[in-house]
């Protein structure tokens, strides 16, 4: 597995939005060969990542399934990985800490990941998504989507946008309940 450090054109939103772009042409060619059409609903293919754990609205993922993670950390990158199995412990999955487990598990299934590089916060796409311009194209329009995270009053809001972040309706949204209070920095 390879971590592709990206030459990024970051849309610099203070809450941390990433639009990884501009991967060299040779790299684009190599990843294009692994592209496959996917008829699984987006909600079941996309999840939010914290540490070595993904929360996703899909309770039927198998160990060994590939996942591509857009890291939303300081250094933007795409990280490849695989599902290890169901996450059962807060040691590998912070979303399962006592203060937050019940609400997170009410909406999401959690899986432990083996990633090629550490990720603090990110958005994962199951399978082998189409990589274009160093980002992920979920809509098939040849353009990378924008992946964002920001803090709400007691959680982290993850979103994927086909267009400009925080304008209109996101393609996908996820919510990581933290179980404590913070000051929101999400754009209104």
């Amino acid at each position: 597995m390879v971590t592709r450090t990206l030459l990024v054109l970051v849309i610099a939103v203070s809450c941390g939005c990433r639009s990884p772009q501009n991967v060299p042409a040779a790299q684009k060619t190599s990843v294009a060969s692994s592209m496959t059409a996917n008829s699984t609903p987006l909600e079941m293919r996309v999840g939010w990542v914290t540490g070595s754990c993904v929360g996703i609205a899909n309770n039927a993922l198998m160990a060994g399934s590939p996942i591509t993670v857009v890291s939303l950390d300081e250094k933007s990158s795409i990280v490849e990985g695989r599902i290890v199995g169901r996450a059962t412990s807060d040691a590998t999955c912070p979303a399962l800490l006592q203060d937050r487990r019940k609400l997170n598990e009410a909406k999401w299934s959690f899986y432990e990941l083996k990633l090629s590089a550490a990720v603090d916060l990110g958005i994962g796409v199951m399978g082998n998504p189409t990589l274009v311009q160093g980002g992920i194209d979920l809509t098939g329009d040849g353009l990378p989507e924008n992946f964002t995270q920001c803090l709400t009053s007691e959680g982290v809001s993850f979103r994927v946008w086909a267009g400009t972040p925080y304008q209109g309706k996101p393609l996908w949204s996820g919510y990581y309940y933290l179980g404590y209070d913070v000051q929101s920095n999400c754009p209104s």
């Binding site: 203070s14 809450c15 941390g16 914290t50 939303l72 950390d73 300081e74 807060d90 912070p94 800490l97 006592q98 203060d99 937050r100 019940k102 609400l103 009410a106 909406k107 603090d120 916060l121 995270q149 920001c150 803090l151 709400t152 009053s153 007691e154 959680g155 982290v156 809001s157 919510y175 990581y176 309940y177 933290l178 179980g179 404590y180 209070d181 913070v182 000051q183 929101s184 920095n185 999400c186």
Partner: protein
């Protein structure tokens, strides 16, 4: 004698500074308002799972200052004190203080988004007993009585933040929805 910051305080907080999920720990009149709203939901056939009510101020204090110190947002010597939490944040040098605070950030599972300048809060509606987190589910459409005893037909949608009819019924009881956080309701919508 004060105990130095570090992983000890995670264990301590989990034993001595836990948050509550008991409605009885909310303050009046919010407690009665929440009880009435939840009763109306239950009578209508909804399942209500309360997960957080009053949060511990001491726990919030440990979250806040460990995050601030670990991320270098302040010196350990700048941390305020909290009655009942005899913690020594300053280990004599910045590196040791930061490392000990980082143990707590990791132990508490605090989120550290990139470029974040917002630490865990020291004050909130939860800490004052004026907020409640709950998961509300049902199937199809139910009739929920508002505080005026009139039925309001509400259809379930997965995104509770978008269910404005449910928000309106809650508001009639004085329980107001915060639209950014799915489980969160409070006395003033924050």
């Amino acid at each position: 004698m004060a105990t130095g910051s570090g992983i000890f305080w995670v264990t301590w907080a989990n034993a001595n500074a836990q948050n509550s999920s008991r409605i009885e720990d909310l303050v009046e009149p919010f407690r009665s308002d929440a009880t009435a709203f939840i009763a109306a939901l239950g009578l209508a056939g909804a399942k209500v799972d309360v997960t957080a009510t009053k949060r511990s101020a001491r726990r919030a204090y440990l979250f806040h200052w460990s995050w601030m110190i670990a991320l270098g947002k302040c010196k350990a010597s700048e941390a305020t004190s909290m009655p009942g939490v005899d913690i020594l944040w300053d280990h004599g040098n910045d590196s040791a203080s930061q490392q000990a605070a980082q143990e707590m950030v990791a132990g508490f599972g605090l989120a550290v988004p990139p470029r974040s300048i917002n630490p865990p809060a020291l004050t909130s509606n939860h800490i004052t007993g004026l907020a409640i987190d709950m998961d509300i589910t049902w199937t199809g459409t139910i009739n929920v009585k508002g505080k005026d005893a009139k039925d309001v037909a509400i259809t379930f949608i997965p995104d509770v933040n978008a269910n404005t009819r449910l928000h309106a019924v809650g508001a009639s009881y004085g329980i107001r929805k915060l639209a950014t956080d799915a489980p969160h309701w409070s006395h003033d919508g924050h």
